[in-house]
Amino acid sequence: MNKLLKGELESAFKDVLVNILEDTRLAAIAPKDAVLSILSFLKNKGYDHLALISCVDWIEEGELELVYVVSSYLQKNNECTGNEKLHIILKTRIPREKPESKTVISVFENAEPYERELHELFGINFEGNEKLTPLFLERDYKIPPFRKDFDTREYVKETFDKIPFVEEEKE
């Protein structure tokens, strides 16, 4: 099954690199412009469950890696065929300095909160997603907090050491 999909992906898209990691796992590396069309291709093939959009900060290479995990729901007859075990990890790299990508909401509607989270925690701008509002955090950060160069200890020192103790205030 995975060999078949690897062949189909490679023949449909020129610049995609597909690796079979295990029987149930396929990793594809693609340029960022091809992501939307690959996802819609996979969806038409029956891989209709976008489980997760994640991001890895490869600071030494100066790149952020967007990771889309796609698998499939049960198909029409509602029975396990073994096909659902397969999941595809689609990866694309964008520069850290100019982290921009296109939204995939038009293919998978549930991408919206994942992109919103990555916008907040990694500072990635998803073109076309209108709801990139703050999700978890209440303060503004100079560096998006989940990037590798954000130092949590220094941040705590800078932010919270300035607040005086209650006893000091009384005096």
Partner: protein
């Protein structure tokens, strides 16, 4: 009519857990709902990048307060996959028992939340009492009531204590013999039917489109359960059913919780029967010096609310490079809840939310 903005939660009678919803309402009708998570955001995924593979175990269970064992399981599975560690057969049986007991306690908590919200206080107290009995078992096994830190890479921390099997059977018989009482007072009660039928209805197509898993998807008739789709532990060696319903409303979802508890009891009974003797853990390298080879993994388990996944990247160091949890409540609470609340009535907000079984700490992480 005048448009009003209402704040539902984080401190509200109808709200379980720390989450809030901003509602735009006209009279009793909701025009727009907006979920506001973040009250419990502790940045666990970032903190885990600063700690060794083993140091992360006390943290990973705290991501989900209600059902910590499935979190431990998915993290242990991720580490095992990256480091290529085998798990002994007996440990897999014990893991399954712990996971199912934990599912039972989580579902009983869910019953408490739903019954309490509808005003069935008696049933709610029964569910809380029975959950406590399950927690007693887990306490005897692991030494802690809520955060067990029991499932470990390479197996489980220790073997079952003496006489544990009989205690489990006794507790399961106590809970099982009260099922007729639950049915008579709650599940077959006309009030429950009237209040839950047709609330928060979602079709199968919509559910698939919005990334639903767990009871929300199974209530629309799809038998999607990771335990069957991609079996882990010993779920391929025990015999159990995946209960489904067709209507996709709150009534179906709450019935599914009840039916799944009965299946959990069957699984635990079978595991206790079939369990082989032997080791319960494989030795792992010295945790202080343990480096795991470069690689990435996506593993998933069926938690009590749906697909719980973990994407983990190792950079060849003694700490994970990146950890990202795919929690089931994330799409449920952030998109499906917002969609279902459009055009609903204000009285149905708590009903919809609790029937979706959304747990806030899981969203925030």
């Amino acid at each position: 009519m005048r448009e009003l903005e209402l704040y539902f939660g984080p401190q509200h009678m109808g709200m379980v857990g720390n989450m809030s919803i901003t509602l735009k309402a006209e009279g009793d009708r909701i025009l727009e709902a907006q979920t506001n998570p973040g009250w419990l955001h502790r940045g666990f995924e970032k903190l885990m990048e600063y700690r060794t593979w083993i140091q992360n175990f006390p943290m990973v269970c705290r991501i989900n307060v209600i059902e910590p064992d499935s979190m431990e399981m998915v993290y242990a599975m991720g580490v095992e996959k990256l480091a290529e560690i085998e798990v002994p057969e007996r440990a897999n049986y014990i893991r399954t028992i712990v996971l199912e007991l934990s599912r039972l306690s989580s579902h009983l908590f869910g019953c408490w939340a739903y019954a309490n919200m509808l005003g069935f206080d008696t049933v709610a107290q029964w569910a809380m009492y029975h959950r406590d009995l399950v927690l007693d078992l887990l306490e005897e096994l692991t030494g802690a009531r809520v955060y067990h830190i029991y499932i470990w890479p390479g197996g489980v921390r220790r073997d079952l204590p003496k006489g544990f099997k009989n205690k489990v059977l006794e507790t399961l018989h106590t809970i099982g013999s009260s099922v007729p009482d639950y049915d008579a007072t709650f599940f077959n009660n006309r009030l429950f039917y009237e209040r839950a039928k047709g609330i928060g209805k979602i079709t199968r197509e919509e559910a698939k489109e919005l990334g639903a898993t767990g009871q929300i998807l199974r209530a629309t008739g799809m038998k999607f359960d990771i335990r069957k789709v991609e079996p882990y532990a010993v779920y391929d060696k025990v015999d159990f059913e995946i209960p489904t319903r067709q209507d996709g409303d709150a009534y179906s979802r709450v019935w599914l919780i009840r039916d799944e508890m009965i299946q959990s009891v069957h699984i635990v009974m079978q595991c206790l029967e079939k369990m082989p003797q032997g080791e319960v853990y494989n030795r792992i390298p010295n945790p202080f010096k343990w480096k795991i080879a470069k690689g990435e993994a996506y593993v998933r388990v069926e938690s009590s609310r749906g697909e719980l996944g973990l994407y983990m990247v190792s950079n060849g160091e003694d700490k994970p490079y990146r950890v990202h949890f795919r929690t089931p409540s994330y799409p449920h609470g952030l998109i499906i809840l917002e969609k279902l609340l459009e055009n609903a009535s204000i009285a149905d907000v708590g009903n919809t939310m609790i029937s979706l079984y959304v747990i806030a700490p899981e969203i925030d992480r």
